[in-house]
């Protein structure tokens, strides 16, 4: 398991943690990213990585409120870390709060130019639309995810 690829070291650590619950869903193409992600250093801060790990653990055991608290705590330290917003979206998804999940994933996209993260967010948005019973919007989102992945 793992997400191979020539992503920046910090980003890959973040992605690894972000994807503990399901790396495959993020996708793992092996070619280098189209460009570095200047505005989104995943995290150089061990404290943020640990909080992400705590959140993943809490969410994995169904303690969603705790997971949200840990991620919000990390976001106070790194408010513009797109992976934190992505993780928060995943927790909302698990809580079946579909609308918020999609919105948070959109915020993660706005903060990042990383194609893989964008694809993961669009997949999450698609799933959220499915959950909310909006198949047309889900299809559009899934197409976007696929385009990002294949390009």
């Amino acid at each position: 398991m793992g997400c191979p690829g020539a992503l920046g070291g910090r980003l890959i650590t973040g992605l690894l943690i972000a994807s503990l619950a399901g790396c495959a869903s993020i996708g793992a193409p092996t070619r280098p990213p189209p460009e570095p992600v200047p505005a989104a250093p995943a995290s150089s801060k061990p404290v943020v990585l640990n909080l992400m790990r705590d959140a993943t653990h809490s969410a994995g055991t169904g303690q969603y409120a705790q997971a949200v608290l840990a991620l919000e705590r990390a976001l106070r330290i790194e408010p513009r870390n797109p992976l934190l917003w992505h993780d928060l979206a995943k927790v909302r998804m698990q809580q079946q709060r579909y609308h918020q999940a999609a919105q948070l994933a959109a915020k993660s996209n706005a903060l990042s130019r990383d194609r893989r993260l964008h694809a993961a967010n669009w997949r999450l948005i698609a799933a959220a639309h499915d959950g909310a019973g909006e198949p047309a919007r889900a299809r559009t989102a899934r197409e976007k995810a696929n385009r990002l992945q294949t390009r």
């Binding site: 705590r73 106070r76 330290i77 408010p79 513009r80 709060r97 919105q103």
Partner: protein, 797 residues
């Protein structure tokens, strides 16, 4: 009650009849005597029944109030907790200040909770145990090292730790009932010295008497007779408790009798420890503003800024000395008298051998030790507190808020608040001096928000921030002037086929006639018209005529719809003058509107409350929070670029050099007719700050947005710890060089060309006259090298 009264009345009636009978017969026969005796016994019985009924009534009164919840406990409101982690920007001095504000004591070798030791660049701290919203945190000893204004190392017993959260600071209370304030203490957590001191001076025989103390009363009587006035009260603690708890302060014999009876009843029902604990929480210890400080728990925080269990003997003695008269012995106002009284308490403790000679002597020589922090804290941040009150009603259910002893954790950052208050105070005074305005006429309101979470970090509602008067941040509705312009431009930029940053607008005289509103002829502040201008310049230079034309094209209804999307919910009138800001909003509303820009197009509700815990430490359910993408990434990036241009070359260019190099800032000035309101709203580095400066009587102040509010804004922002990361350009936005004169495509042949962001496919295709015609349609590409690097600098700064 009514029953008891009936008994009293009927027995009176009977006694009158008996008296008449006695008067009617001069001598009574033995038979009669028996009858009289019988009547008397009935009378006595009736009196006894009445008395008993009354006692039963008192008994019910006592028990009703003593069982269960004894006091309404107001909700207590706390600042944010300081989170410490490696690389946090924080210098050692500021950290020590934070510890002092929390009442931590500096000692040689920190071992007890609430203390710290300074050694070189580092500190050893023993953090107090605390129940946070995500669970309890036990007492935590840790070491912290600083280097170059950052936390360099965080360890516990030498082993690295990630994160330490200090406890938040209490700064206010919210109560719906009366103005009594207290924090409850349990008897087993109260220092023995406090109980010793209290019983020594107030009630030596407390554990022996039955609620009243005849010996104490006799002693008091003797002393009072000797002195010729009331020197000693002779009341037991139980009587004092009864008096404060159930009765009024009037000095009548009836009240005194009631008090004694109730004291005895209380002692029958409850044990001594329960009564003592109630006393410790009931006692009145002082007043700040409209708040009455009750109980030793809050008293300790209020006078010393520390919890009761951390007080020294001399401090305990001072608290106990206040029982006799909190204003008479007020240590802040009458330090001499207060010291005398405190030392008397210590002397009496020595007399009764609770302490030895040496301890008494040492404690008596100590300073009073009262801190101003407690008082400041109790009166601090009234504007913020007002906002918290409003948001409680928005985010929580009414019935949950009615319960007692809630703890409200806010997002207020005392450092940011301090910076904001200082900036307002100093800058307003400087402006008055420089502009020869009458002193103390300018007023201001400021809201500082974290851009991505919407958490309000600071709020100032008045020039004197401690004065709980008119909260301008929340309640002052002022015309916003040009602050509204970005909304007009956003509505236009949402239509990339019609409008881009390079669209040429006409800044020329304009006359708008619309049924139902007066004829409108907008003019520019410089009284000139600027002819053909690019859309981006029109916003950056805040031209009125071109903006009004654009707004009329886009439509007033669309602008109103845009305002709604941005979170403005108040009723708005459909006048064209709305396009230039003839709409009154509060600084908080402006902050809500600009927050969407600052957070990349996501409407995020302003929040002041992080969590609310009930008395049993359960988090209250809240209405869920949400972010909502209301502006698509493309138009948002374009608008943000234009708002950066305001600072680079527009009306806010005066900011250059006032902020740290490399800080990317977007903002907008606002000035209203005759210079009555001076506004600035701007964001960058993770913070959005909105400033209003003006006068309460709406007289002109002679300040534009840039010469007034913007200076306060800069004073605040340059002292904040700004965050470097900004939103990247969205993938569907491209950079294209244009000729600023025509708004057409430019290339390296064009001297003044500028590079602007365009939503893909919307960039101009017509070539400027300066551009060479033979280069393909992808111009701006190969020839725009120097422009590109310039542009990159802008976005990567």
């Amino acid at each position: 009650m009514s029953k008891a009264k009936k008994h009293t009345v009927s027995s009176k009636g009977k006694s009158k009849t008996a008296a008449r009978r006695r008067r009617g017969r001069k001598r009574a026969s033995p038979r009669r005597r028996t009858r009289i005796a019988y009547t008397f016994s009935r009378l006595a019985f009736a009196v006894a029944v009445a008395a008993l009924a009354y006692i039963v009534y008192l008994d019910i009164t006592i028990r009703n109030r003593f069982e269960g919840q004894r006091w309404p406990i107001p909700a207590h409101v706390y600042t944010r907790p300081l989170e410490l982690y490696q690389d946090l920007r924080l210098d050692r001095e500021r950290f020590i200040e934070e510890l002092q504000e929390l009442g931590y004591r500096r000692v040689q070798d920190a071992r007890r909770q609430g203390s710290y030791t300074v050694a070189g660049d580092g500190l050893t701290v023993v953090a107090r145990p605390y129940v946070f919203w995500d669970g309890p945190r036990p007492e935590l000893p840790f070491e912290i090292q600083f280097r170059n204004g950052q936390v360099a190392r965080l360890t516990r017993d030498g082993a690295p730790i990630d994160l330490v959260r200090l406890e938040p600071r209490l700064f206010g209370s919210v109560s719906s009932m009366d103005h009594e304030d207290r924090t409850l203490v349990r008897l087993d957590s109260v220092p023995q010295a406090l109980i010793d001191a209290l019983l020594t001076v107030e009630d030596r025989d407390f554990y022996a008497h039955i609620g009243v103390d005849p010996r104490g009363l006799a002693r008091a009587l003797w002393v009072n007779l000797g002195a010729g006035r009331v020197v000693q009260g002779g009341s037991t603690l139980t009587q004092q408790l009864v008096k404060n708890f159930y009765l009024t302060a009037e000095r009548t014999l009836t009240r005194k009798l009631n008090e004694m009876v109730m004291a005895v009843l209380l002692e029958i029902h409850y044990d001594k420890d329960e009564i003592l604990e109630a006393y410790l929480n009931e006692v009145y210890l002082g007043q700040v503003g409209g708040r009455a400080i009750h109980g030793f728990g809050l008293g300790s925080l209020f006078y010393f800024g520390r919890p009761l269990e951390e007080l020294k003997l001399s401090e305990i003695a001072l608290l106990v000395s206040l029982v006799r008269g909190p204003s008479l012995y007020n240590p802040h106002r009458h330090s001499g008298r207060s010291r005398e009284r405190r030392n008397l308490v210590l002397d009496k403790m020595r007399e009764l051998e609770f302490i030895d000679d040496q301890t008494a002597k040492r404690s008596k020589s100590e300073p009073l030790g009262v801190s101003s922090e407690g008082i400041q804290s109790a009166l601090a941040y009234p504007a913020y507190l007002g906002f918290v009150r409003k948001q409680l009603r928005r985010d929580y259910r009414e019935q949950d808020l009615r319960s007692d002893g809630l703890r409200i954790f806010t997002t207020l950052d005392p450092d940011v608040q301090q910076v904001t208050e200082n900036a307002v105070r100093q800058r307003l005074a400087a402006l008055e001096r420089a502009r020869k305005l009458p002193a103390r006429t300018l007023e201001a309101a400021v809201v500082v928000v974290r851009s991505d979470s919407g958490e309000v970090a600071a709020m100032v509602g008045a020039r004197k921030p401690r004065f709980a008067g008119f909260n301008r941040a929340l309640d002052a509705q002022r015309p916003v002037g040009s602050l509204i312009k970005p909304v007009v431009y956003l509505a236009a930029l949402r239509q990339p086929r019609r409008y881009t940053l390079a669209t040429v607008l006409e800044d020329a005289p304009l006359r708008v006639e619309q049924a139902g509103s007066p004829v409108w002829t907008p003019r520019n502040y410089d009284q000139r018209f600027h002819g053909r201008v690019l859309l981006v310049q029109s916003l950056a230079q805040s031209y009125n005529a071109s903006t009004a034309r654009l707004g009329m094209e886009v439509g007033v209804d669309n602008i109103i719809a845009e305002l709604r999307e941005l979170g403005i919910s108040r009723p708005l009138q459909r006048f064209p003058s709305l396009l230039l800001g003839a709409v009154e909003l509060t600084p908080v509303e402006v902050a809500q509107m600009y927050l969407t820009f600052a957070s990349g197009g996501f409407r995020t509700p302003l929040r002041s409350i992080r969590s609310v815990l009930s008395q049993d430490q359960r988090p209250l359910a809240r209405y869920p929070l949400s972010v909502e993408q209301v502006v698509p990434p493309g138009p948002m990036a374009l608008l943000d670029y234009a708002l950066q241009e305001v600072v680079r070359s527009g009306t806010a260019r005066g900011l250059r050099g006032k902020l740290p190099r490399g800080t990317r800032v977007s903002g907008k000035t606002g000035t209203t007719d005759d210079y009555r309101d001076s506004w600035f709203a701007g964001y960058g580095g993770g913070y959005l700050t909105v400033v209003w400066v003006g006068r309460d009587d709406n007289e002109p102040v002679g300040l534009s947005g840039a010469s007034g509010a913007m200076l306060v804004w800069a004073d605040i922002m340059r002292r904040l710890d700004l965050y470097g990361d900004e939103f990247p350009l969205p993938a569907d936005v491209e950079l294209v060089a244009v000729d600023p004169a025509s708004g057409r495509r430019a290339d390296a042949n064009c001297d003044n060309a500028i590079e602007l962001p365009f939503i893909a496919g919307s960039a101009p295709t017509q070539r400027a006259s300066c551009a060479s015609p033979d280069v393909g349609d992808n111009s701006g590409g190969d020839s725009g090298g120097k422009l590109r690097s310039w542009f990159k600098r802008l976005f990567q700064r």
